[in-house]
């Protein structure tokens, strides 16, 4: 009797843990997607050429402008990968390479107007991809 009770208690804790994990993953899907959306809007404004942070010819300000544009793209990639990865986990499917490549292309193409931003974004995205594969391997 007591054993049954114990088993029941164990499975209940596991269920609660599972639900908590699901809830956390669901929250992560939404929060990461919202941040990704905000970053996409910022990217449209900056990388789409609708808004200029610094109109100055100053080298420091130009470097800062490029850095902000590149970071927006890289963070968009990271947050969208987290969001879609968790989404896939919740639906019981793995995040396959096809989807990662799609997010990669959508991130990189945002920098198509500026060759410098494009180059740095490409390097940054490749580094993130390599890091992700290494973490996965471990």
């Amino acid at each position: 009797m007591s054993k049954v009770k114990k088993d029941h208690l164990k499975s209940g804790t596991a269920n609660r843990k599972q639900k908590l994990k699901e809830k956390s993953a669901y929250r992560s899907v939404i929060l990461s997607a919202v941040i990704g959306g905000i970053l996409l809007i910022i990217s449209i404004l900056l990388n789409g050429g609708y808004l200029s942070l610094f109109a100055s010819e100053d080298l420091f300000l130009q470097t800062l402008d490029i850095t902000v544009k590149v970071l927006v793209i890289l963070f968009f990639f990271i947050f969208m990968t987290i969001s879609i990865g968790n989404y896939k986990e919740l639906t019981g499917k793995p995040l396959d390479l096809k989807l990662i490549v799609l997010i990669f292309i959508f991130s990189l193409i945002q920098a198509f107007r500026d060759s410098i931003v494009f180059s740095f974004s490409l390097i940054g995205l490749l580094l993130i991809m390599v890091y992700m594969f290494l973490v996965q391997e471990n």
Binding site: A33, G37, L40, G49, Y87, L90, F106, I109, Q110
Partner: protein, 273 residues
């Protein structure tokens, strides 16, 4: 030791003053005074400044001096120089006074504008000259020359227009010359917008060039672009369309993903069941 330091400081100060003074010399041969020239309404080239119509009102009004020796700029003849753009021409007016201007001494007076190509520095290859044959009867002719090795050759196809008029001791010279004139060929300097061109204004009393030139000065003009809405190039148009297409596509995929998130709870329940 203290004395040495003071001496060094004094020496540095003197050197600094000497170096700084070099930058105070504004007028010198080879460094023309630069002016930006904007747009206005085209004046009538008749040698008369019509104050009623205000035809030269929007001109860039400058005061320069013509010198016998440009490297030693002293005892110059002050002249008023007005410059104006009105499509498709550049207009230049020169006005000055001379004592006994009606006398026979100035019967063959001339005023010329020499132009150097934008990349030729001070190598003046084009000349527009108003040459009087009899100043008392106001007889003059407009001469368009091209210069090669200081020899003046008359243009086969003269471009531009001019007029001059003496009133009392004051004379007014008016010139008009086409901008972006490709028809002039090699005989004329093709004036263009947004690039500085060097001009040399020359004055003499005998119809002989260049030996008849007695005073001159150099100035530089950068012609402003015509005030019109900037043309959108094909590249810019393509870039704008690409931006809209690319970001719209990403936006559409993102919107679809958000829609999928809203359906996520139901999907999880469906998977469980």
């Amino acid at each position: 030791m203290k004395k040495h330091t003071t001496n060094i400081i004094i020496l540095i100060l003197i050197a600094q003053i000497l170096v700084s003074s070099a930058f105070l010399i504004g007028k010198s041969y080879g460094t023309p005074i630069e002016y930006d020239v904007g747009f206005g309404t085209a004046p009538v080239i008749d040698g008369v400044v019509d104050g009623v119509t205000g035809e030269w009102a929007s001109a860039e009004k400058l005061e320069i001096e013509l010198f016998p020796d440009l490297s030693n700029q002293s005892d110059g003849l002050p002249i008023e120089l007005w410059v104006l753009q009105a499509e498709p021409n550049l207009y230049i007016l020169a006005r000055f006074d001379l004592n006994d201007h009606n006398s026979i001494e100035y019967d063959n007076e001339f005023l010329g504008i020499l132009i150097a190509d934008w990349d030729a520095d001070l190598n003046f290859t084009d000349a527009k000259i108003v040459q009087f044959s009899n100043i008392s009867t106001n007889n003059y002719s407009y001469l368009d020359y091209h210069i090669s090795d200081t020899i003046y050759y008359e243009d086969a196809n003269p471009n531009g227009d001019c007029a001059a008029k003496l009133e009392g001791n004051q004379i007014v010279y008016e010139f008009s010359m086409p901008v972006k004139n490709k028809e002039g060929g090699i005989e004329d300097v093709e004036l263009g917008h947004g690039i500085p061109f060097n001009f040399k204004i020359v004055f003499g009393k005998t119809a002989d060039y260049p030996s008849g030139i007695i005073i001159s000065n150099i100035f530089s003009i950068e012609l402003q672009y015509p005030p019109r809405t900037p043309e959108v190039t094909f590249g810019e148009l393509l870039m704008s369309i690409s931006t809209i297409v690319i970001f719209s596509t990403i936006g559409a995929f993102f919107a679809y993903y958000i829609y999928r998130i809203t359906r996520l709870k139901k999907e999880i329940e469906r998977i469980r069941s």
